[in-house]
Assembly symmetry: D2
Homo-oligomer: 226 residues x 4
């Protein structure tokens, strides 16, 4: 997935009412516009059912929020990687705080993703799980302290945690991009994350639930490359 | 969901390689054609990521293979009912043999579906679980003996099981449509199911993996209303 | 399990620090004493690891808090029914609010329990899930509104809910004993439950975390048979 | 847990009918005897319900097959660490192939175990998951190729896999003891594992289902320290 050039802003649309269907499409178009205007890499993660709608309408990368590890076959109700790819997604979140996975399944998902040239951003919750994720060789690891998710208090208010997490990821596997998330709501949070060594941020409510999503994303995008 | 008039044929596309994306769209169009030609009710259940593509292209009802019970909010990677509906689905399979759910979650899904005028076909695996499902008041209950799923040996080879299941469902809740599935591959299997009292059949490989899906579906549709 | 004569008081020891090991043994001995003094049926449900210790020391019935559905074989870390029985338990809670199970697994557990003459008390959370449980033919169904569990506000403050639940269980399967739980903390709660038609109560903190467990249990036992 | 001196033989009793209750006690006594005779470290992992019975009767270390991550409190049917400890266990298997856990839960279990001076042997299935486990800082990591578990074909038939796994664990965290398992059935399998650098072996059927458990264990113990 060499076309994804860090630093990134990854926008998780979650199951928020503000991001369903056409509302999500509008948000994705805003992200597309801001990415072009600022020449930054912004990734959107709509719900599975909205991936194709959005992937057909924007030029920025579209990620799934989750894919299952199984191969094609007799499985019902799973998110099959190959189907997600055909619909236009080029990567996925894995092991999000709201969708924790078994260690062995994370490894299988990463492995299958690699074989399909599909980008993986695996979420973690602290230093040790970030190191463990790095050992699994995903493309990126996004560390999010669970207690700050959706809180509006940025992960960057814990600079030591961020720095140590990044250092430990680098020690285990310097090819893994270190990202951070949780509570990221302002341009300054993004600037701070980059200053601490992160190669990008993962956020959801700070964009999706913002009254001025375009303005806030623009600030973040500018902070990303300042 | 009074627009769904039994008897039904429900086609589960599963995660089969033969049913992904445009291949699934072709299968759905075949189902659409057969439904029109035979004036029968045929329902297709594509993967979540393909729901919108197919719902926009056919007139027959499109179901999800699974929805999660949660309401809109801070959830990642779940199939939100409201998003599935906006994408064009009008119902869902619940508790498929390959996606078993907790009892309390099945009840919540049915409850939320009812409030959204969304059709639920809850799968069960024997007489007792069928009775339990009936008590939860879904629109339909599809009993599938797990050992016959994908076997090519039709559930109707167990006529006593089918008849007793239907009788027990009726005793608990006569409003629940009794369906059967597993191994249904031929028109005669459908005819036999209807004769035994089922209001429809649920099948997957018998259609999706058939070399002549149109021919086999046509036979089934004709058998459904004979 | 015809030796269990209703009405019952079932005491769930949970994972409370007050009920571990020797502390749990003391609580079980109190229950044993009260049962004898009042000539009532009181059942204790210690943690799995404490079942043998307690079953060897008291005459009252000892239940597990959970058993797994699997048969003996290559399974690791599961609660095997046969091992639980050899340790002295004569029954189990199933599908407790804090240990919800898949519908099909509940059915398998009940089936395996019946074949081993092992008593099953399956928990439910509302009227519909209680009906579903009754259809699965356990020995008893204990309805507990989740929002009242551990609240100190008794389920009997919802008399209509209790009466309707019992009536519906009876309709589906009159052989299933209807029990209620959640917030039961006083003798009067038990008296009220019995008056509403319940054949017993399920409680945890009201006994385990009480400062005077013997006194409170004595009151409850007397209320049970008044 | 500095009293556990490698190399080890860890005997997983699983849910085998041959290891329940008094049968498990006999097997544990055999292990106890062999450990004394050969002056080796042999650990037994009975079912949770049998931990106290066995821990009271033998001098060798007793491990649980699984503990849950939760702290003491309102949890039902879980294996609470503190209760397992009070019953006499000094360690636990974690994430066994037949009881896979979420990455974040493995980390929490290890963390809670450390705070309670409780030994953790975390299972893994390949090189990458072994590295990930090492990053979580358990006491030991037992790599078991799933396809060989219970097969009678020893993991040591894949010497390169064993050596590379050990090397990678050492790179991430040299304090983690590297163990191997799957198909270990003979003294020579143990000798080979030690020769390849493993600090011990994890086995189940090779001992529990053996017709001559004492003889086979004696051979293994001798091979361990040869």
């Amino acid at each position: 997935m060499n076309k994804l050039i860090p630093p990134f802003i990854i926008l998780n649309f979650k199951n928020y009412p503000q991001s369903i269907g056409n509302k999500g499409l509008k948000l994705a178009k805003i992200a597309n516009e801001v990415a072009k205007d600022t020449n930054t890499t912004i990734i959107v993660c709509p719900q599975t059912v909205d991936i194709r709608l959005i992937a057909e309408s924007v030029d920025i990368p579209v990620f799934a929020q989750h894919v299952d590890f199984n191969e094609a076959g007799s499985f019902t109700g799973n998110n099959l990687l190959e189907a997600i790819i055909e619909a236009g997604a080029v990567g996925t979140l894995v092991n999000h705080s709201e969708h924790r996975l078994k260690l062995s399944d994370i490894e299988r998902i990463i492995d299958r993703a690699k074989n399909n040239n599909f980008y993986t951003v695996v979420c973690s919750n602290n230093i040790k799980t970030s190191k463990a994720v790095a050992a699994l060789e995903p493309d990126a690891c996004a560390m999010e302290p669970p207690e700050l998710i959706g809180s509006g208090i940025s992960v960057t208010t814990k600079p030591d945690l961020v720095k140590r997490t990044i250092a430990e990821i680098m020690t285990v596997n310097p090819k893994v991009l270190p990202l951070v998330g949780a509570g990221v709501s302002h341009g300054e949070d993004v600037a701070e994350a980059i200053k601490l060594g992160a190669k990008g941020v993962l956020l959801a409510s700070g964009f999706v639930k913002s009254k001025e999503p375009k303005k806030v994303l623009q600030e973040m995008a500018e902070a990303l490359i300042k």
